[in-house]
């Protein structure tokens, strides 16, 4: 992972991939709303950062995109997870869980003894 240090970017990519994984093909606005909902509206997403991230993922062949119609019959670009994207999601999930475990160990005083 080239962006290991950049935690925010790393997590945003992870969230986007996970969202696409659970929801299936989705447009950018839908992804953004879904991320906000899932976070219990704790995350305020700047939608402007989402689109460059989607383009980056597409350039890296983690997602593909095509035009389609939204639920309200609006033309929108739909993103879909590719096989490579799914693999990447798996490894990113593992990485993230490992990170959580490690950080949790540091933070929980009981483990020290």
């Amino acid at each position: 992972m080239g962006e290991k240090t950049d935690v925010w970017q790393g997590t945003l990519a992870l969230m986007v991939l996970k969202t696409l994984d659970t929801m299936g093909p989705q447009h950018g606005y839908g992804i953004a709303r879904r991320i906000e909902q899932t976070s219990g509206n704790l995350l305020v997403l700047n939608y402007g950062t989402l689109y460059p991230m989607l383009l980056k993922l597409e350039q890296e062949c983690a997602v593909t995109s095509e035009w389609g119609l939204s639920d309200n019959n609006r033309k929108a670009k739909f993103y879909r997870l590719t096989g490579a994207g799914r693999k990447r999601l798996e490894s990113a999930t593992q990485d993230w869980q490992q990170t959580i475990t490690i950080v949790a160990r540091f933070l929980s005083p009981a483990e020290e003894a």
Binding site: G28, Y29, Y51
Partner: protein, 884 residues
Amino acid sequence: MRFLRSFWVRLLGLARVRRTNAEIGAELESHLQMHIDDNLRAGMSPQEARRQALISLGGLEQTRQALRERGTLPWVEALLRDLRYAFRTLLRTPGFAVVSVLIIALGIGASLALFTVVRSVLLRPLPFPHPDQLLALYGRDGKSGNTVASGDFYDWQKATHGFQQMAIWRWTGYNMAGSAGELPEFLNAGAGSWNLFSTLGVSAALGRSFTPADDNVSAARTVMLTWSFFERRFNGDPSILGKTIRLNTLPYTVIGVLPAWFQFPDPKIQLWIPWQVGVPSGDLFTHFDHIGYVIGRLRPGVTSAAALEEVNAIQHQNYVRLNGAGPVVDAAIARSLLADIVGDVKTPLLVLMGAVLCLLLIACLNLSNLLIARAATRRREAAIRTALGSTRTALIRQQLTESVLTCVAGALLGIALAVGATHWLILRWTDIPRAESVHPDALVLAFVVGVTLLAGLLSGLFPALSAMRAGILAGLQEGSRGTSAGASRASLRRSLLTAEVALTVVLLVTAGLLYRSFLLLRSQDVGCITKNVLTVNFFLRGDTYAKPEEILAFDTRLLEKVRILPGVRAAGLPNVVPGGGYYGDREVWIPEHPRLPSGEHIFASYRTADPGYFSAIGIPLLRGRLFRDNERLTRDKVVIVNQTLVRQDFPHEDPIGKHLRIEWRTPQGESYEIVGVVRDTAYSIGKPPRPMMWLPILSGIPGATGDVTLVVRADRNVASLALPVQKILAGLDPDLPVKQVLKMEQVIGDTTSNSGFSATLALAFAGLALLLAAAGLYGVLAYLVTQRTVEIGVRIALGAERSRLLGMVLLDGLRPALLGLLLGIAASAASTRLVASILYDTSPLDGTVFASVVLTLLLAAGAACLYPAWRASHLDPVRALRSE
């Protein structure tokens, strides 16, 4: 990996940037619409719904920009823009573009060609496994190196531990004649110890290599063929394995063929014979006949110094034990096999490489100068662009793009030039070793890419920086009033010019020294007649010439027939002619003199001759007499010596009637009476004369008198005698091949042609440099005059004398030339020592050369300055003032 792929995707993204732009707009628009829909549904007013949607997007234009940047590589786009712009600029001034591209092509082409040769000859490792383990070993007498005696070699091989293997070889040659009336042919050959090939790490491509059983005096005769000989003479038919070929009339069984890439030590070698078979048996275990080249392969982890120390210890024992008995070397010398093969070519090659790099630098400076001149005319453009918000880096980048583009175009042309030039170099430079391995490779490619970029940056940097220095306002103002413009730019151009002239002077001096040395070398007197003299070289060997009477009969019949050929003035039979090489020497003792102290020896170059040889080739007799006709077969106890031998060994006495004891006919040696003294001749052009002695070739001793060079002198057109002479030879012995037919001029030319070649080449480079420097000088001065048109017009209008104006402008142009000349002379005085080792009889500070360089440069500079100066002094003041 992911980064790389993303990079590529983005690079490809450039191709569809327009579509992406439209898409970005559509996608963001649809996003906004959906968000607005949601907001409306949540009960906002239409305006508020749109405002909120825009806020959470973080600005439409910013997002669009972020996406665009993500979608493409901004610097690639900028580069493409710069390139397009540079292309257009260059096309707008095609004359300028063509001149600059040609200048750079010349510089890059020449340096690329030479670098290809340098890389292949000096830098590429030898084509053997672990080539760094291979050492060439020589004997050492006092300070100078010597080839190795076979006896020494066997001692070293037996008693050292630092080497995996040690092998010995030497040059030899065989007459080959087919059994079925095939054409006879002389073959250069090598005689090598059985392990030579395994030491080098080579195995036979067909059949087998030599074994210890082959490398034995009493072994059945075997031979290995080189691939080129195998293909040429036997059509590459493997059925030759196991068959015999006749060499010097004796049958040799072909046991193997060497691989095609194996051309050690020289592609001229056609076949290999085992050492003990190819060397006279008397030479095999002696420590006194230094005949072989030794190659050792170090054990891993053993340094060459450690290995050499061991060899030296053994040789020291030999020296102590045998010093009184004969000439034995006291130690050994080792150097890497690569250095040994490259040998004498290294310095001239590096000098030429330096010369072309100088030329390239001059070409860059010249281009730089041209670009500065042009930047001056585009100053307003630069100023306006800066005023409109173009950054300085953008301007510099633009300038560099242009110069790099010029250099790339130059490099492309230069590469084409270099391909031809490399080929030509190899053809002409006959003594270059490893010529077969000369071809471009990755390093050469890297070199040309590096040199091109460097040249582009170098020639673009000065103009770019100078364009920067002038402020915007000054640029705009200057452009509007063409007075005393760009003073700093002019001084920059003068400094570049000074550097250019200085480099040119260094080149001229170096080339001048090389050429003068070559002229001296060529005019050196070899000590005999060289006009209208033909030499025909052959070897009497094998069963046919096993008895003295047979050799004598051949020699006398040949001379009789040749002497009566129409047009022949004289003919003679030596083994080697003056200028024909070192050939060999022998130890001599003077019975009339007291014994020399132990360890001191007298050597004389060994020659043979018939009675008519000296007058045939015009070597004058100084004292005594020449050989007599009846001094033949066993009545051969007479010897003729040269001046140097007399000067060295009979300084205060008459040598005539004294004797030299020589081991010639028999190993124990006989005394030969000195009957004559002849004038010195050079064994090789440019080498000091050595003590030399001639023994009667008509003694007919098999082996000793078998090497023959027939010398024929005619009144005119001696070349036309070559065929009749060869027919006579074929008539006497149809199986006898002729090795070489050369005019004396060619024999001597051979030894000087290579130094002549490098000298001519260096001179050509220097001439080009001079041309470039003169063009640069002219350009700068013409530019200055144009810049000062108004000023000069005012001066004339106010009554300045035209001759003084002429002087003023001339001085203006000559000042950087003179400064450059001084710097160049100083630099040459310091640097020419580097070429001292390849100069013949010429001091690196040779006054004639320096003086003529100064003169040439002043003339060229004067010529370049004269026209602009003349134009300045003949300005029409009215028109000049109007030109404002």
